[in-house]
């Protein structure tokens, strides 16, 4: 009986052990299946991530290519700009040189205009010479006036001589001829003196008109040179 019990117990133990083993295997299989599933999920996730990373890498490479293309274009642009800047620098240097030349010319024009303004002194000198000439003319007027007075006196004297000759009768006939000749000479002298006076007046007017023209023309030239000087100065200021 005991044996039966023992056998039964043993059989129960074995059955339990087998059951436990089966359960253990079943559990292990389930765990393995779960782990495999998780692994598959992870692999799938990793593959997806990998695919995304590959896409990003492709995009990055495209961007790198674009950037390299932009850099190359910028390099070209820079080279072109440097070339233009070089040309501009050369043009600027030429313009600065031109400006310096113009400045120098403006300075010289202003200087020349300023120097030529001293011509006014020359014109004034000519005008002073007119005064001197006119003084001489006045002196000739006075002398001619004196000559005219003498001639008038001679006419009177010759008239008196004629009267005295007439009184002397036949004895004075020769003297009357001389007195007549003297009167004729006095009349010619008087005419000559009048003509000389007229010439002096003509000379006065011509001399005055000419020298006033010179004086006024001198002032006109001086004023014009002043305008040239002002314009040259203004040009100089604008160039500075």
């Amino acid at each position: 009986m005991i044996e039966q019990y023992l056998l039964a117990a043993l059989a129960g133990v074995v059955a339990t052990a087998i059951l436990a083993l089966l359960l253990h295997k079943l559990h292990g299989a389930r765990t393995l299946a779960r782990l495999q599933s998780e692994m598959n999920d992870r692999i799938k996730t990793l593959m997806e991530t990998n695919a995304q990373q590959s896409g990003l890498i492709d995009q990055g490479e495209q961007k790198i290519q674009q950037l390299e293309s932009s850099i190359a274009q910028l390099d070209d642009d820079l080279a072109r700009q440097l070339k233009i800047a070089g040309e501009d620098r050369a043009a600027l240097a030429a313009a600065v040189e031109d400006k310096e030349n113009l400045l120098d010319q403006a300075r010289r024009i202003a200087g020349e205009a300023s120097r030529l303004k001293s011509l006014a002194a020359t014109f004034e000198r000519w005008h002073e010479q007119m005064i001197s000439l006119m003084t001489q003319n006045q002196d000739m007027h006075a002398k001619n006036h004196e000559l005219s007075s003498i001639v008038k006196h001679v006419v009177i004297v010759s008239l008196n001589a004629s009267i005295e000759a007439a009184r002397a009768g036949n004895a004075g006939r020769g003297f009357a001829v001389v007195a007549g000749e003297v009167r004729a000479l006095a009349a010619r002298s008087e005419e000559l003196s009048r003509s000389y006076r007229d010439s002096l007046h003509r000379n006065d007017l011509t001399t005055t008109a000419t020298f006033q023209d010179i004086q006024a023309g001198g002032k006109m030239i001086t004023a014009s040179l002043g305008s040239v000087e002002v314009l040259a100065d203004q040009f100089q200021v604008r160039l500075h």
């Binding site: 006076r197 003509r202 007017l205 006033q212 006024a216 023309g217 002032k219 006109m220 004023a223």
Partner: protein, 179 residues
Amino acid sequence: MISSNAQTSIEGILLKAARSRLPQQPDDACEIVPLAHAYDSARPEANVIILTISSILFRLLLVFHFDDDASTREYFSKKTGDVPLQDMLLEICNLCCGAVNQDLLPYFQDLGMSTPYVLSARCLPYLEGLKPDYLSSYAITINGSVKLAATVCVCAHAPIDFVADMTAVEETSGELELF
């Protein structure tokens, strides 16, 4: 060579200058009449004052005739003070010529003016010797008693044609040009 417009303009400018500069008081009457003949033909012993305005195209001579009589002396001596009458007259003529010069400037860029000089009236017939293109004389009477005259003589080297704008307001005071 001087157009009728230019002659009229020169005459207008001269008469305007004479009216503004010769009367010593602004309200003094000033009557100006053109003369057919030279003013001084009957006054050979008189003196005249002559001035010249020069330009590139022409020269213009202005001759002022002052009678040496009591009314002239009295009128122009009022303001002379210690200045001799002749110097005063020279200054007045200079102002008058300056006014003409000023009014010609808008039409002729380059102008210059001489200083005045005194000549015998016997010289005036020889103005014709300068071969003027325009010669005209005017009798001027101030306050009905002071008689004087002005002659303008223009010798042109090129055709002159301009129309002066005489509508501008007259200035009552002029700049004194020292000589």
